[in-house]
């Protein structure tokens, strides 16, 4: 669960009483374990929020912190330290799982900046036409029709080679479109990471639209794969 405390707020270490930034898992002064810090998942790894992450560095840091936090190391520690090692480990795992996966990471960062993503979006700003991938609708609809036909034929024990070929072609096409979206998303990562406030706002908008498009494509590819594999 994400805490939304301000990570810049200094807290006094429970052990040595020296003030430290709340985002840290261990006191920089006395090295003692700290209660689960506020702030975001990036700050757990000592990172500022950004999208073009070095994954091998992230993994390396994850393993290092995991070892340091491991409950076995706190077997003889005080009760509250034992609890913190469990809680910090859970937080670290959540943070790592979210940040290492590109789409989750992007969605997470956008949510941190107030974007409404996916199902949580209430439909209030649906009048914004940029949210609907209009060029896709026609194809999405056609493909759904073909999928329905294919399933109906299957039920009757028939196989339609032509339909099958057409679906396989569609799948390749949508896979390709998905690659394009991922490529565009990476370009927006850079724009966000390196941009000023204005460029960031533009990149955020673009990423929300790309993620919508991606969700569409992802559902389609899933449905086609399911139907073809049935």
């Amino acid at each position: 669960m994400l805490k939304v405390l301000d990570s810049a707020v200094p807290v006094a270490c429970w052990s040595c009483a020296v003030a430290h930034n709340d985002a840290t898992l261990f006191c920089p002064h006395c090295s003692k374990i700290q209660p689960p810090p506020g702030g975001d998942y990036f700050s757990v790894f000592g990172l500022v929020p950004h999208l073009d992450l070095d994954l091998s560095e992230l993994e390396h840091e994850f393993h290092r912190l995991s070892r340091k936090l491991h409950p076995d190391r706190f077997a003889r520690a005080a009760d509250n330290e034992k609890q913190w090692s469990l809680a910090d480990t859970a937080l670290l795992n959540d943070a790592y799982r979210t940040l290492r996966e590109p789409i989750h990471r992007t969605e997470y960062l956008l949510k941190l900046h107030g974007a409404a993503i996916g199902e949580e979006h209430s439909g209030k700003d649906r009048k914004d036409p940029s949210r609907v991938p209009a060029d896709l609708l026609e194809e999405v609809f056609e493909l759904n029709m073909q999928l329905e036909e294919m399933r109906a034929a299957r039920k009757m024990g028939e196989t339609d080679a032509e339909l099958q070929a057409s679906l396989e072609q569609a799948k390749r096409k949508f896979d390709g479109l998905m690659d394009e979206v991922d490529h565009d998303l990476r370009a927006q990562w850079k724009a966000w990471d390196e941009g000023d406030a204005g460029a960031r706002a533009a990149a955020q908008k673009a990423m929300v639209a790309l993620l919508d498009r991606r969700r569409y494509l992802n559902n389609l590819v899933r449905d086609v794969t399911e139907t073809l594999g049935a």
Binding site: G118, E119, H121, S122, G123, R126, K127, P129, R131, V132, P133, A134, L136, L137, E138, V140, F141, N144, M145, E148, D212, R213, R215, Y216, N218, N219, L220
Partner: protein, 139 residues
Amino acid sequence: MAYSDRVIDHYNNPRNVGTLDKSSTEVGTGLVGAPECGDVMRLQIRVNPETQVIEEAKFKTFGCGSAIASSSLATEWIKGRKVEDALAIKNTDIVKELSLPPVKIHCSVLAEDAIRAAIGDWKKKNGVAETVESTAAAQ
């Protein structure tokens, strides 16, 4: 989450599923989608050119039960109405009729968009001046 009886009724017995001839000048087609859940909805109307009454309405929706029920209800409501009267249907009317929960409100928005898009398409084909609202929805 449980669907209301009205949703289940429309889902099990959807009214007016089907296709109208897209190329006919009397037919308007609205194709809309909801990026939130990947739903896609096509709603078509056939308008009597003399009376401007929507004589036929058909839909085809790929999506969840609420999306299907919303479009089914929408076709039921617009049939027999004059074009301008059909535009008066609001998504909140659909929400009320189907008792849609907050997370499914976007399904009703989609149905309203589909009505507007279909009417917008018909108006474009027939050179009818567009109202401000339907211009926005038809794009």
